[in-house]
């Protein structure tokens, strides 16, 4: 998703104390390189390697430097700065624009933004915000639950029992993240974070009951706003014996936003308590993260025994 100056401004109004000084008409300009730049060297006349695709932040240092220049020198530097194709300028610390700036901003279509935050803090927080804004994201059909710290997505065809399985897990004390539809985004650490859509957050639809508000029924610990996605469990109605995992030796993954997420398929059969199976899957996953792979360990012990038992001379 392209980052426009408008998106940056809208997201930054509350988070970064950002406001628009001028350039309403040019807010749809794209920030071609979603990052920040302090243009000290560019303003000093060194325009090679100038990161002109980034959001330009002018703080006290830049301002003081510009103020110290001769008037015509300053006009020339600022013109070169504006015409290089910069997406927008943020003046920090509540700085007022220099007298040349409004006209240049208007003629090159560069919006002028301002924050009252000090520059260092603004740059740090804006970098975090930009990362949020450009994180690859997708909507994912499934019910997401935090089971013992393992973010688990339960997916499957309609009516297979995703919400009912989630409900019995909630009754056991685990927390709902999103019912039936989750928003996933990949952050720079390579993790995927899942959250509910605002409209339906903390609600679930249970067939035969309708819509319930989970924390009202099960308390504040029964919901979670956001959770890292650790594994996906797919519930399937009809599943051939050949498809079902029987040993746990062959780990499967599913690609979500370019990340390989551990993936399990569970056949839904009458009389099988699926929430038990899902809970066991997450516990086993956790055990594996701690370095214990039960299936592999059993298999290795077994192979040793079998080797020891075979006759000395095998015919």
């Amino acid at each position: 998703m392209t980052l426009t100056v408008r998106r940056f401004l809208d997201a930054g109004r509350a988070a970064l104390d950002l406001g628009l000084l001028q350039g309403e008409a040019h807010l749809d300009r794209a920030v071609r390189e979603p990052a920040l730049n302090r243009p000290g060297l560019a303003l000093a006349g060194f325009l090679r390697y100038f990161a002109h695709r980034r959001i330009q932040v002018i703080g006290l240092a830049e301002l003081t430097y510009l103020k110290g220049l001769a008037v015509d020198e300053r006009a020339a530097r600022l013109k070169a700065f504006f015409e290089s194709g910069i997406p927008c300028i943020v003046l920090s610390r509540g700085i007022r624009p220099l007298p040349e700036m409004p006209a240049l901003a208007e003629s090159y279509g560069v919006p002028l933004l301002r924050t009252h935050q000090i520059t260092g803090r603004f740059v740090q927080m804006a970098a975090v915000l930009i990362e949020e804004l450009i994180a690859p994201r997708t909507r994912y059909q499934g019910t997401m639950i935090d089971i013992n710290g393992i973010g688990t997505m339960i997916e499957g065809p309609p009516g297979v029992g995703k919400s009912e399985t989630a409900l019995s897990l909630i009754v056991r004390g685990y927390s709902l993240v999103a019912d039936d539809l989750a928003e996933l985004r990949r952050v720079s650490s390579g993790e995927i974070l899942g959250t509910a859509l605002d409209a339906t957050r903390f609600h679930m639809e249970i067939r035969g009951l309708g819509i319930i508000h989970v924390p009202s029924l099960y308390g504040v610990t029964s919901v979670r706003r956001e959770k890292r996605l650790d594994m996906i469990v797919r519930l399937e109605r009809a599943m051939s014996a050949a498809d079902e995992e029987r040993t746990g030796l062959d780990a499967q993954t599913k690609d979500v936003l370019g990340v390989a997420v551990p993936f399990f398929r569970i056949a839904v059969v009458a009389g099988r308590d699926i929430s038990n199976v899902v809970e066991a899957a997450t516990l086993n996953f956790r055990l594996r993260q701690l370095g214990h792979d039960a299936a592999k360990e059993l298999d290795q012990r077994l192979m040793q025994q079998l080797i020891a038992e075979r006759p000395r001379t095998s015919d």
Binding site: T247, D299, Q305, L306
Partner: protein
């Protein structure tokens, strides 16, 4: 090494030997179970008088099917002959391991 006993009333039997180096550990057991589960017939494996279902992973893992062990495959049901043939083939092919 194997002799097929012609089955009356939908039973089939065949004797095989474990050929692969590591014997019936988890992977071969899973392969046997998946193959056996594709048939309607009840399929059993027997070694030294102990019989386990070929559709049970845990059963197969306890049968100590090391290399050289003699195993009797038996099946009962309308597709018993095909089930026995399919399982015997896995033994002969060393479970695609060695």
């Amino acid at each position: 090494m194997t002799e097929a006993s012609p089955g009356a009333d939908g039973t089939a039997v065949r004797d095989v030997k474990v050929l692969n180096q590591y014997g019936i550990h988890a992977r071969p057991a899973a392969l046997l179970v998946k193959t056996a589960s594709a048939f309607r017939a009840d399929v059993m494996l027997e070694k030294d008088g102990v019989e386990v279902s070929a559709k049970s992973i845990m059963g197969l893992l306890t049968m100590e099917g090391h290399q050289g062990a003699k195993i009797r495959i038996s099946a009962r049901g309308d597709d018993a002959a095909a089930a026995v043939a399919a399982l015997a083939e896995l033994f002969e092919k060393k479970f695609f391991e060695d």
